[in-house]
Each structure stands twice: as structure tokens, then as C-alpha cells.
């Protein structure tokens, strides 16, 4: 079971899509809403050096944006 974190906002369409995609594939993940949570924004910025969402952290492998192919590879799906 891989440790997966998703940084996103509730208004971003791709964040919602990514989370749905993970649910559809039975992948458990920590759903981190960075909306109005500057601590979590800082955490995300430190990991990625940038502020775009969604960000998925698959056991330290960081992928910015809903890059389906890369994410599937990282999750070994």
C-alpha cells in the first residue's frame, strides 16, 4: 500500500478529477485541501517549488498536475 498525498483545492477541476481517479482505482490517499490553509501551501511549495495544483505525492515521488500516465506508473497501476 503506497503512501499517497494529494494537495488540491475544492475549486480546481483537475484536483477533483484526480481524486475521483484515485477513488475509482481504490487508491487510499490523504486529501489535503490547501484552500485557505497557508501551512499546507507552504508544505506543498517546499516539496515542489511551485504553487500549481493538483500535486500528488506518491511516497516521495512528486507529480504536478493530473498527468494520468505518470501517476499510473508511480502507483504501479
Amino acid at each position: 500500500m503506497k503512501n499517497v498525498k494529494v494537495y488540491g483545492t475544492s475549486t480546481c477541476a483537475f484536483c477533483v478529477k484526480l481524486k475521483q481517479f484515485l477513488k475509482d482505482n481504490n487508491v487510499e490517499f490523504e486529501d489535503i485541501d490547501v484552500s485557505q490553509n497557508q501551512e499546507r501551501v507552504r508544505e506543498m511549495v517546499e516539496k515542489t517549488g511551485q504553487m500549481g495544483v493538483p500535486v500528488i505525492d506518491v511516497e516521495g515521488e512528486i507529480i504536478v498536475g493530473f498527468d494520468r500516465a505518470r501517476i499510473m506508473k508511480a502507483l504501479e497501476l
Binding site: 483545492t9 475549486t11 480546481c12 477541476a13 490547501v34 484552500s35 485557505q36 504553487m51 500549481g52
Partner: protein, 318 residues
């Protein structure tokens, strides 16, 4: 409809679709639904599903939905197309297309596809400022999507660059989130709908700076502000976020040989025909007079129905 669905190309049997649709925003998806219902063998090639709709904020003028978010409406579109047996290939941008021997060759970064007809519904993308620092700070505090990224700037002072509806829309979203919102506009007054202008003017954390031209984006690891010219003076404005909302440009770079206007929009007639028989276009990528989700959807439907008629008319020729 797919009697002649294979053809010989370079001594290999290649599949020929009835219709390829480039783009999966409201125009592309609606076209795909209509094509599927006409039992056309259809392929959709797109970078993303939803297009500009996905990053729109609040939509109050899509008939039937008095109020819906861009995200929700996009989800509805996606749900609708999933009902039909249409292949939608995402993350696949079209790079080139050409018509040869009655067939249309559509080249992406991954593959080349063949089709008897084509609908270009690739929409528009954000216009860039083209100033130093813009590329460096993209996603490091500079963004083109207030809907997506606004919430990350809570409590900060931010600048929205632009003066039309997109800029007003962004500013209105940000006044609820940011500590302070500057609207930096190159013209002498804000354009955009009166309803939005009024809402903005009545907010207490907004300052509009007119006649101002952004000349550089500043920062260290992340954005820290921008430099702008106002009259003869150059000034700096500190800001924790820069939202670029200066307009849109059509995604039409891959459409060589298809007539466009000065802005790069594909020229179409009222039945979505371009100058190339068999190639149709719909939505914001065209010169359709108004750019609205509901208009794009309507144009997409027209294009699919026109493509269907075109195929019936040309069936004997292939």
C-alpha cells in the same frame, strides 16, 4: 457508415474514422455526443476535458442551470459523453493536420490518425504578458487561473492584470480570499459587464490602477511583485500573487492551410464549414461572434450534424 473504415497507407491497412474531433470542451463534447447518436465512428483527441469551462468560476447563463460552477458543469459534460461509445484520448495534443486523397491525416505527439471528416474545437488559451519573469514565475505565484489557484493566496496581497470580464471575474473571486486585490489595467477604465464592475467597486479591499502596463515580474524563489509603467514613470508593486487575465488566443497553431482571421481564429460559415471540404470548426477557436459555453455547445452540434451530411454526400467518392 464505416463500410470503408480501413484503407491502405504505405502498404499497411490503417483505420479510417468517420470523424475526428480535436478538443473536448463544450463544443467538442457536444459534437461527440451528436456524432455518437448518428452512429458515426468517432475519435476525440484532446489535451484536457472541459477546456475553459473547467477553469471557469460561477456560471449563471448556461440555460437550465441557474447557477453552476465550471467544475460541476465540466463533470456533467464528461458524464454525458461517457454514456456513448466514443473514444476520448486525453493528454494528446494535435500538432499537425493535412488533407490528402480525400482523407484527413491528424498527427499528435503520439500517433497519426486518419479520418474522413474533422471538427476542430480546440478552443482558446490564456494570452501571455510576454514580459521578463513571466515564464520563470509561472506557478511560482504567477498564474492564469484564479479559479484553480486563488485559494492558495489566502490573506495575501495580489494583483490581477487585465481589465475585461476575465480580470473582473478573477478579482471578484479573489476579494473573498486575498487580503488586498489590485487590478492593473492597461486602458483608462475597466471594460467588462456593468454588473461585475459595480460589485468590484463596492468591495473595500480593491484598488484599480488604470493606464498601467506591466513590464516585469519580480521575485526571489516565488513572486514578490511586479514593475509597471504609468505615464512616464516606472513603479514597483509588491504582491504575493499575480493573476494574468489579459485575454485569450485561439489554439489554432496546428491548422496550416485553413483560413483564419488576424486574431488566428478559424473562419467558418453558419454551418461550421471552413475553406477545406470535410473540415469543420466549432466554438471559441472560430470567428463565431460571441464566445460563450452555450454557443460553443450549439456550434459543436451543428458541426457534427454537418459532418454527418458531408459523409453521406461524399460516400461514393472515397
Amino acid at each position: 457508415m464505416n463500410i470503408k473504415s480501413r484503407t491502405v497507407v504505405d502498404n499497411k491497412m490503417e483505420k479510417v474514422y468517420d470523424l475526428i474531433i480535436v478538443g473536448a470542451g463544450p463544443a467538442g463534447i457536444t459534437a461527440a455526443i451528436y456524432a455518437a447518436r448518428k452512429k458515426m465512428d468517432c475519435l476525440v483527441l484532446t489535451v484536457d476535458v472541459g477546456g475553459q469551462t473547467a477553469w471557469s468560476g460561477d456560471i449563471e447563463n448556461y440555460t437550465g442551470y441557474q447557477f453552476v460552477s465550471g467544475r460541476e458543469l465540466t463533470a456533467k459534460f464528461e458524464e454525458h459523453i461517457k454514456k456513448y461509445n466514443v473514444k476520448v484520448k486525453e493528454n494528446e495534443a494535435v500538432k499537425e493536420l493535412r488533407k490528402e486523397g480525400g482523407k484527413i491525416f491528424v498527427k499528435t505527439e503520439k500517433n497519426t490518425y486518419l479520418s474522413r471528416s474533422l471538427i476542430i474545437a480546440s478552443g482558446k488559451k490564456s494570452k501571455e504578458l510576454s514580459v521578463p519573469g513571466e515564464k520563470e514565475y509561472k506557478n511560482k505565484g504567477l498564474t492564469y487561473c484564479a479559479t484553480c489557484d486563488g485559494p492558495l493566496f489566502e490573506g495575501k496581497e495580489v494583483v490581477v492584470v487585465g481589465g475585461g470580464n476575465s480580470a473582473l471575474d478573477a478579482a471578484l473571486q479573489l476579494i473573498r480570499i486575498a487580503k488586498k486585490v489590485y487590478v492593473m489595467n492597461i486602458s483608462d477604465k475597466l471594460a467588462g459587464d456593468a454588473v461585475m464592475r459595480d460589485k468590484l467597486e463596492s468591495a473595500d479591499n480593491v484598488t484599480v490602477i488604470n493606464n498601467a502596463e506591466v513590464i516585469e515580474i519580480l521575485g526571489r524563489k516565488m513572486v514578490e511583485g511586479l514593475r509597471y509603467r504609468i505615464g512616464d514613470e516606472e513603479k514597483e508593486l509588491p504582491a504575493g500573487g499575480v493573476f494574468v487575465e489579459i485575454g485569450l488566443v485561439p489554439n489554432s497553431e496546428f491548422t496550416r492551410g485553413i483560413d483564419k482571421n488576424k486574431q488566428g481564429e478559424i473562419l467558418v460559415n453558419s454551418i461550421t464549414e471552413t475553406n477545406v471540404p470535410g473540415i469543420f470548426a466549432a466554438g471559441d477557436v472560430t470567428d463565431v461572434i460571441e464566445k460563450q459555453i452555450i454557443i460553443a455547445a450549439g456550434e459543436g452540434a451543428k458541426a457534427a450534424l454537418k459532418a454527418f451530411r458531408y459523409l453521406l454526400e461524399t460516400e461514393e467518392d472515397i
